[in-house]
Symmetry: C2
Subunit: 425 residues, 2 copies
């Protein structure tokens, strides 16, 4: 009979409740204490057998706790609580994407100095074993791209829009009604959630952290059902993508990390991912292209990853000097982010224009002048004097495309630029 591994659990929302349920009466573990924000709040589980506190720092200071499990979310107070726990020699299991994206390198460094370990499999992709795959599974590879559908809410909305010809607003409303979107959906639909996750994946794939606040983001709010229909006609599906790859054409250490909807070719593995599912596509120098797929959120998928981390950590703890085996090879030097203007993409552009003879000529002139070559042009008469024009360009530097669009925007025949989307190649 080996001694039980002792846990302190900070946070008892959706994921925390799942964790306590999954641990159940697993004889390997003892939950020493649970810290919650509101002790009076009714819960799905019976807490009578646990010590419950309102002060998470008590967990960080309790010498009888070996592993602090942080499932509270947000930076404050998780950041301070975890730093205190590490300083007190505790190992950490966390599901906190925002915290790891913003303060990961500092926390990993602190953990290394205190010879403890931070596991965070649940921070990205719910129960999909991503972190361990990037850390341990692809060691023989130089990674050349990580591209993920890592936000279930936006994928649910885009799937609804495509399958049921809904508008963005209608699909968002249904996502909210189904519990897949928050009352304030900004973090999801504007790409902030994706930015945290791709920042974490990028730091593992390229072994250098980035500043997540500097990641370029474009949301999905301007996408119309017409865009989804026309993209399909061109052979694509529109997906919200977090992308990380080495910046091309830059001599220093620079990572092209960005978050925006993309037109994904119909036969690309990412094109088939529907509903609230997540998938992460990885391109490695030796392995080629692999993809990991599964539910990206939810109580039990996420708790599956948290409890998996707890079990792995508990078995590792029994080894002498094991912590360095799990040290992440992430440089402490922050990598520059490759400027969005320097990235090369093909573009899908939807414009509202006057329906007059000179329009296509004006557009062609502006694109030609800035070196943007067109792949397809599709004109749709929408009213007596109005047309919608959709263009697909060949690969070109973002700044050239933007310069052409600025010129087009100023043309008298242009009413408005509806949406500009990049194409995954």
């Amino acid at each position: 009979m080996t001694a039980k591994t002792t846990l302190g659990i900070f946070g008892l929302g959706t994921v925390g409740t799942g964790v306590v349920t999954l641990l159940g009466d697993n004889p390997q573990f003892e939950i020493r204490a649970i810290a919650v924000r509101d002790r009076a709040k009714p819960r799905d589980i019976d807490l009578s057998s646990f010590e419950v506190t309102g002060d998470p720092f008590k967990l960080a200071d309790d010498p009888k706790i070996e592993i602090l499990v942080e499932v509270a979310g947000g930076v404050d107070p998780a950041y301070q609580v975890i730093k205190r726990a590490i300083t007190n020699g505790k190992h950490i299991v966390t599901a906190n994407k925002e915290l790891i994206a913003k303060h990961g390198p500092e926390l990993f460094d602190l953990a290394n100095r205190h010879n403890v370990t931070i596991f965070f499999e649940a921070a990205v992709g719910g129960g999909i074993p991503l972190i361990s795959t990037l850390h341990r599974g692809l060691q023989a590879n130089r990674i050349s791209r990580v591209a993920g559908i890592v936000n279930g809410t936006t994928n649910y909305i885009l799937t609804k829009m495509e399958r049921e010809q809904k508008s963005f607003a209608e699909a968002l409303g249904e996502a909210q009604a189904a519990g897949y979107a928050e009352a304030d959906p900004t973090d999801d639909v504007e790409g902030r959630d994706v930015a945290y996750k791709i920042a974490i994946l990028s730091s593992l794939a390229f072994q250098a952290p980035i500043e997540v606040e500097k990641v370029y983001r474009q949301g999905i709010t301007a996408i119309s059902d017409l865009d989804i229909k026309l993209a399909a006609e061109f052979g694509y599906r529109i997906k919200m993508i977090g992308l990380a790859q080495p910046g091309v054409g830059d001599s220093g250490v620079s990572l092209d990390v960005r978050v925006h909807p993309m037109l994904v070719p119909r036969h690309h593995p990412l094109a088939g991912i529907e509903g609230v599912n997540n998938a992460i596509f990885i391109k490695g120098s030796a392995v080629g292209e692999i993809m990991l797929y599964g539910p990206g959120a939810g109580r039990f998928p996420t708790a599956s990853a948290v409890v998996g981390d707890i079990i792995n950590l508990a078995s590792a703890i029994k080894l002498p000097d094991f912590a360095r085996y799990f040290q992440l090879p992430i440089s402490s030097q922050v990598s520059d982010i490759f400027p969005i203007g320097e990235t090369t993409n093909a573009y899908y552009i939807r414009l509202d224009t006057e329906d007059s003879p000179g329009v296509i000529g004006n557009l062609g002139h502006a694109f030609g002048e800035h070196g943007v070559s067109l792949h397809s042009v599709l004109q749709k008469h929408v009213a007596d004097d109005a047309a919608t024009i959709v263009l697909l360009t060949h690969q070109v530097k973002e700044k050239q495309a933007q310069a052409a669009l600025a010129e087009i925007s100023a043309q008298p025949t242009t009413r408005q630029i509806g949406v500009v989307l990049r194409v995954l190649s």
Copy 2:
């Protein structure tokens, strides 16, 4: 400057050459010796800087080798060489599916007793990190199903048949011409290769070995382009599947492990896997459904997994007493295989019959008598007096379906039973 980890490499075919190339001049490793079957054979790589031997046992006996990397394949002499190496205290990295499927439990047990470790990520799914996912990524789950497309050759053939309306023979010929199928394709098209791989995945998912020779196998040679077309009309794609799940309705420890083509519903994640790619679908009690996808074979994808194992093992070796961290929780007690007759499936059945009024009545009578209920019946007039009838049944026990088919086979209006396929539900 830490000491180099010393390797002996047994086998220098496609994968071995990839391994030596990927290790390149990695300063972490020293290849002490390479054992090959035929020293005179011309190779893609320069071997002048390596010690090359024809005797793999020399590697197993060399006290200066820490890790034996076995990429020779086959049971003989790999089995004896690896046993000797383990007894001599060496760690093992192997890509050998047949060896692990047939002798895994014995070798793991021997390794545990000698406090060494066997890594075999490359044995299933090429470069897709599968073994580590099942071993470490899903610890919090009870697995209820593993279903995989784990043979690139058969998936390539079935994809060709579907996309280009080729016959089995034509598609096989093209697979051979493209180097995706052997001159003797039996191991692939009859499911033996899949059986090795699903036996390994099953032992990890359910923590008990099975006897791979007892796994039920059905090949893909009887599948016609008509079957693929009709399956599509019913909403399915035909895929060669290795399946492992707990045997239902059985009180003892019994695993339902089998290899056969299946009708996969069009929206199931496995339905979209095309060409030589592999994918493994896993259903866990907490995580739900996840899938891992990628190239299942080939020089560099497989070498990616082998070298990944080598790198992980080399970093683990530096820890005191690390081997038990990697011990697989596989029971030494062999699990019974759930009898195929007791499994429950829906069936796709194609029959050649006389084109006479009583035929459907005869069929209906035979199915009804054995409790087989029909979901769809499709009759196709093929010649003056001949018809092809395709039936889709509801879920029923295999032995009932087989009893009905035996009766139908004996009916005077039946010319032959063309193919019987199971449906993935």
